[in-house]
Symmetry: C2
Subunit: 422 residues, 2 copies
């Protein structure tokens, strides 16, 4: 079954959603800031839910605020069978782009509107979901909504997580869900879909560099986030000989260099990032008393990722000894690599080829809701190129053509998944 | 001429001044917060000026708010000759201790009260001063008042400096001097004293470690403060291969390790500190776009200090190339090393030995008002031990015994300086 989506309609919905929480980048680029469960997120949710209801979909909100819209009797679908689901998220980081997450949700709406308009009779319904707090920028861990949906975290634990708001811990997930009107009745874990596909921008430079249009995503890199706190002795920067210092900033720097070198030594796909550093008291002429920083390690091979983690732990010990600082570590997130369903990956690849699009099988370097859904049902992802690999930035950009062909491939794959079952 | 100071009276005045702007440290230690030209600084000034007037001293306030109190006709001194001056500062950092600066001022008062009580007839008057904004915590540069007094900066330039208050630039020096009632009539540069001596806590660990009671300070380390801004490319931490990154945090870390290694390689007295680091956007899963940090380099040998600066500049270039980041540097402060008057240093050493106190000739790692006065007249300093080397912290502590013997050595040296001239 093949039917052509309406690219213009998709692009208009992307524009309309981007206006909610609109921000401007350094060179005038247009992005969005809709941190999870803020007023801006609520406004974005309300807009998308309105579109879902306009199509006559059955809209369900669950206890963690995930929204799932499925073809039901209102739009002429009576099978009662588990849906072929697609979706992603509509929350953003503080400096978010227009496509990260939003594309997968609005492309799903477009697929469903196309199928309804064409009057196709399907053996099982299609559905589209957006999951709460995928970014993790306001509530850790990221992919929170899909994690709870898939049964990876209890509702009670998730509800008690507090916002990392400026100026100290903010309200809990439950308080914010209630406040914005998205503390729904549907239970978690949710009912398993028949299959799940997520269309997403690559957020990396590979497809553009290789002049390919579609990524058939084979899996997601394992992620290891560690928060390290080093405590030394604050002292006058002029009067304390080097030999008598307990300097946590010097120690932090050694560890940051170590993980940077480690990633280069291990080679791709290993990556390592120190993205966050906080120094106390942060004065030019004071040896700091305390430095807190994060280490983000990722690899598609869990065995190698564990070696990287072990190397970091050993280096923390060596550097602590050398600089006389105390080390505390906290695991902020740890996800093993995910392997997507081979059948779904094949369908993505063949759908792209059938449309004449250059396609590459590739892992995802970022975490995505699809990796949580993979615990429940056959799952996969479709990537489209990110210009310059830029994401989490108003300068994030995918060409209109690529947005549209990505949506078309999503449509083709969802229809194949319905048919493959019949 | 020798006369014994009253240690109890000195300690009581230290306690009384510490109550003004009193703060409490993490373990209940008592410190003070009197940032320059705030209400708390005014209250501290008023208290000390009251004591000066109680002794009958001639009190002069100059256009930058420095206060100088000298024996005059009111207290029976009629020589009209330039005074042997001592002094320091009574402003503090936000997390100040009780002794940094305050000791040198109140010990000067104690010396003068002792001399007046003993009815000593002196060939030239003694005086005690406190200088404005020595800490530089609210108005940069530090040692502002003594710098202007010594003619190193014009009054107009100094008056226009704005406070680095929370939430953005605050009022100017002139506005704040006027507001707190310390915009005085005496001109700057001021009249050169006959000689200048400053008693100060070491603020470092050396005297305590070596079980010595008195430091005969030979000079002040040269200071070089550089603010470095590295600009790279913000990107997703999972999807950007290491080879395609322009990561300013990794670059900052390499430079921080470099300067730490450099100081160890050069050996004492070279020190190097990265005390301040700011990362943007400072998120765990985002390669930063920009990192700003400071490098504080100090040495007693200007030649070696210049070599350290040149090495830093070269490394900045190398690391910028390696990580593909842009470098901007700004010189925040640069003071050449200061050599104190050999005669004054000898007097400090011999006065200490005469009192049976273990003494060490040593440089100062911190900047002090005496280094500005050294441009005008023979100058020197007396150090007493800082327990644990801790300063700029409510936990700053010097034993009562050391406070008292330090004041006694100051008294002996000032009288020697009067006599040496007669």
């Amino acid at each position: 079954m093949r039917v052509d989506i309406d690219g213009g309609r998709l692009l208009r919905r992307l524009e309309d959603l981007a206006e909610v929480g609109a921000i401007t980048g350094g060179r005038g680029e247009r992005g969005s800031a809709r941190l999870a469960l803020t007023d801006a997120d609520r406004d974005g949710r309300d807009l998308v839910v309105g579109w879902m209801r306009d199509l006559g979909l059955d809209v369900t909100v669950d206890v963690i605020g995930n929204v799932i819209a499925v073809m039901g009797p209102n739009c002429g679908h009576h099978s009662g069978r588990a849906p072929v689901l697609c979706g992603s998220h509509i929350d953003t980081v503080a400096t978010g782009g227009r496509f990260d997450g939003n594309l997968g949700v609005l492309a799903g709406l477009e697929v469903i509107e196309t199928v309804l308009s064409a009057g196709l009779e399907l053996e099982r319904p299609l559905g589209v979901a957006f999951f709460t707090d995928e970014e993790g920028a306001r509530f850790a861990p990221d992919m929170l909504g899909s994690l709870v949906f898939a049964g990876g975290l209890t509702v009670e634990e998730a509800h008690d997580i507090r916002a990392a708001d400026p100026g100290g811990p903010g309200p809990t997930v439950r308080e914010e869900l209630d406040r914005i009107g998205y503390l729904g009745p549907a239970p978690c874990p949710g009912a398993a879909p028949h299959a799940f596909v997520e269309l997403h921008v690559e957020q990396g430079p590979v497809l553009e560099r290789e002049s390919e249009r579609i990524g058939a995503v084979t899996g997601v890199q394992g992620i290891s986030w560690t928060r390290v706190t080093l405590t030394g002795q604050s002292n006058h920067a002029g009067t304390t000989p080097m030999s008598m210092r307990r300097d946590p900033a010097a120690a932090m720097a050694r560890i940051a260099v170590f993980v940077n070198d480690l990633a280069e030594e291990f080679g791709a796909p290993q990556v390592a990032t120190v993205g966050r550093v906080e120094v106390h008291p942060n004065l030019v002429n004071v040896v700091p008393s305390r430095v807190t920083f994060t280490v983000d390690l990722r690899n598609t091979d869990d065995e190698v990722l564990r070696r990287a983690e072990a190397a970091l732990a050993a280096e923390l010990g060596r550097v602590a000894d050398r600089h006389g600082v105390e080390v505390e570590t906290e695991e902020l997130a740890r996800f093993a690599p995910v392997i997507f369903d081979e059948g779904v990956v094949d369908l993505v690849e063949s759908a792209a080829l059938e449309r004449g699009l250059a396609v590459r099988r590739m892992p995802s370097g970022a975490g995505h809701d699809a990796q949580m859904l993979a615990r429940m049902c056959p799952s996969g992802m479709v990537f489209v190129p990110s210009i310059g690999g830029i994401s989490h930035n108003p300068a994030e950009l995918t060409s209109d053509d690529d947005l549209v062909v990505g949506c078309q491939v999503l449509c083709d794959v969802m229809l194949d998944l319905v048919e493959g079952d019949s």
